[in-house]
């Protein structure tokens, strides 16, 4: 059955283990764990959980922040051979409960910093076996049993789901995206050919573990036997120092991080000379930001990575070396090998030049957890199943794709994908509010959300407090404006364009 291990996402860790057993696999919060230590810990946690469960659940949740124990927890989740659902301890318990139920999570591995999250889940009515090594949490406890460690990770098949991640849904509830081991196998196979990562490399770990770009961080680092270094928020105070102190050679973040490093005074000439590679994903990257970053990291090759969760982490890439581009934005570039891309115009016809980007190929998810979410997002053509990304692009002469914008009401706030309708729904549920419209306003190189609402006027802090109970803090709007009634357009519909304009012109 050895050929199955090669396909498994966790197999990439085993590859790093073979190269770098006694070297650090991850450094976080002042703690360093070698590949051997992390491997043994994950075998122990996975074995303890499996030994305790009477039957195999549909999925295992992994509550993982960014402390040292988060990484063993994620790896243990994969080692069980069962679908893993990364859960964010900082998310509202009500939202995490929705994810648990939607994915059929039957047990949880919780990292050592998850006590508050577990308490919150209990108050939300979640009652599942939980492996929490420090003990003393309110859910039914799964003990860490020294004798139960697995001898090796449980084998998987390519069609098995490696992980389920959730993205914002316009219906007001998050959409689950299952990604298989075959999906990730194709993805990382391409990356192995494209990059020269090795055991000497030190990878930044900026992305939260419930965000698929974190899979790039973990499994590029571990697949090469390199070291993952977790950047805490305070590292942004002096990022060049953090990068130098840790010898970071591979950087990956959202473009918003560039603006933040700049505001903190970190973007001078060659302030980050140790970087060999710089990657950005999660939102549109401007040539201005990319250029400033390259001046600060002149030894690095810079790439803009593009891709929705449905297409496994990233599915297009452009290597940027300072050239001008349409609208001053770095292109999305070329779609990964093995895929087919087509552009649909407003009438649904294929266009050679411009339209909505649709992609078919081996990185595409088979469909959302809830088949009801598939409606309108997938279609079949020429015997292939295509996903409609919702992103409008133009094909340049050389075939490279240029990003134009969204065709719908989805936005990226600091790299977090948000359906504005989901925020509307959450605001409408706040006491006193009658109706709500959320708009995105450009701010500091990214966007921020502004809400217009009708009904009673509610103190802003109170609205924000209500919203934090159901929305991740990153997508809680920053601005609120009470209106007696919404402006209407000529079709007697709420004039969202007018509201967006109003929000943009009243910004600071």
């Amino acid at each position: 059955m050895d050929d199955t291990v090669d396909l498994a996402l966790a197999g990439r860790f085993l590859r790093g283990l073979a190269k770098s057993a006694d070297r650090p696999a991850v450094r976080a919060g002042g703690t360093s764990l070698t590949y051997q230590e992390l491997h043994e810990r994950a075998l122990l946690l996975a074995g303890s959980l499996l030994a305790h469960l009477p039957s195999r659940p549909a999925a295992i949740g992994v509550l993982a922040g960014k402390g040292p124990s988060a990484y063993a927890s994620i790896l243990a989740g994969l080692y069980t051979g069962i679908t893993m659902v990364p859960l964010q301890p900082a998310f509202p318990a009500a939202r995490t409960r929705q994810m648990i139920e939607a994915a059929g999570v039957g047990a949880i591995i919780a990292d050592d910093d998850s006590l508050a999250a577990l308490t919150g889940l209990r108050e939300e009515g979640v009652d599942l076996p939980v492996l929490f090594a420090p003990g003393g949490q309110p859910q039914p406890a799964v003990p860490v049993a020294e004798g139960s460690a697995l001898a090796e990770p449980v084998a998987v098949r390519g069609e098995d789901t490696a992980y389920v991640l959730f993205t914002s849904g316009s219906t007001g509830r998050p959409k689950g995206v299952p990604v298989t081991h075959a999906n990730t196998h194709h993805y990382f196979g391409l990356l192995d050919e494209r990059y020269d990562f090795g055991p000497e490399d030190v990878f930044s770990q900026n992305f939260d573990l419930n965000f698929d770009c974190a899979m790039f961080d973990l499994f590029c680092a571990w697949g090469s036997g390199g070291t993952l270094v977790v950047a805490p928020p305070q590292a942004y105070r002096d990022m060049p120092r953090f990068i130098a102190d840790n010898g970071v050679s591979v950087w990956f973040s959202t473009p918003s991080a560039i603006a933040l490093v700049r505001r903190m005074g970190g973007l001078g000439p060659a302030t980050m000379p140790s970087l060999r590679w710089s990657f950005f994903a999660g939102e549109a990257l401007s040539c201005q930001d990319a250029g400033d970053w390259l001046a600060a990291a002149p030894q690095s090759t810079l790439e803009n990575l593009y891709g929705p969760t449905e297409l496994t982490i990233t599915v297009a890439v452009h290597r940027w070396a300072g050239e001008d581009a349409l609208n001053g934005m770095v292109p999305i570039g070329s779609v990964h090998g093995g895929h087919r891309a087509l552009l649909l115009d407003a009438d649904g016809d294929e266009s050679a030049i411009e339209g909505e980007l649709c992609i078919a190929g081996p990185q595409l998810t088979a469909g959302y957890l809830d088949a009801g979410d598939d409606v309108g997002r997938f279609f079949d053509r020429d015997g292939l199943r295509f996903y409609r990304t919702g992103d409008r692009v133009r094909r340049a002469d050389g075939g490279e794709l240029l990003y134009l914008g969204r065709g719908d009401a989805q936005v990226q706030v600091l790299g977090v994908r948000v359906e504005l309708a989901e925020v509307d729904a959450a605001v409408r549920d706040c006491p006193g509010v009658q109706d709500a419209v959320t708009v995105a306003v450009p701010a500091g190189g990214s966007v921020e959300l502004a809400v217009f609402y009708t009904g009673e006027e509610v103190p802003v802090a109170q609205l924000a407090r209500e919203l934090r109970k159901v929305l991740p803090v990153a997508i809680v709007p920053k601005r609120y404006r009470h209106l007696a009634e919404f402006p209407l357009n000529s079709n007697r519909k709420i004039d969202r364009k007018q509201l967006a304009l109003q929000a943009a012109t009243t910004s600071e």
Binding site: L260, R263, L414, V460, A461, V473
Partner: protein, 83 residues
């Protein structure tokens, strides 16, 4: 009580505090919109404004809980001022 620079700098990171509303000693900063990235930027602004350097130990959630606690930390770093 804090000075005007502190008040102005801090208010810039509290989107949910209405302009007319006073900043109290015990205003819960998180409730009024100070998030984790805002914390880091605020720190940078205060360091620049007062020419001080926070110790890494001061970078905790507690330090940024209320204006009073934060001002105590800032003023404790100023030369010749007793917090």
């Amino acid at each position: 009580m804090w000075d005007e620079t502190f008040e102005e700098t801090l208010r810039g990171f509290l989107p949910f505090l209405p302009p007319g509303e006073a900043l109290a000693e015990d205003t819960p900063l998180r409730e009024f919109g100070l998030d984790s990235l805002g914390t880091i930027e605020l720190l940078g602004r205060l360091e620049a404004a007062y020419d001080i350097r926070f110790l890494d130990d001061a970078l905790t959630l507690e330090t940024f809980e209320t204006p009073a606690v934060l001002w105590k930390t800032v003023s404790g770093l100023l030369p010749g001022v007793q917090a």
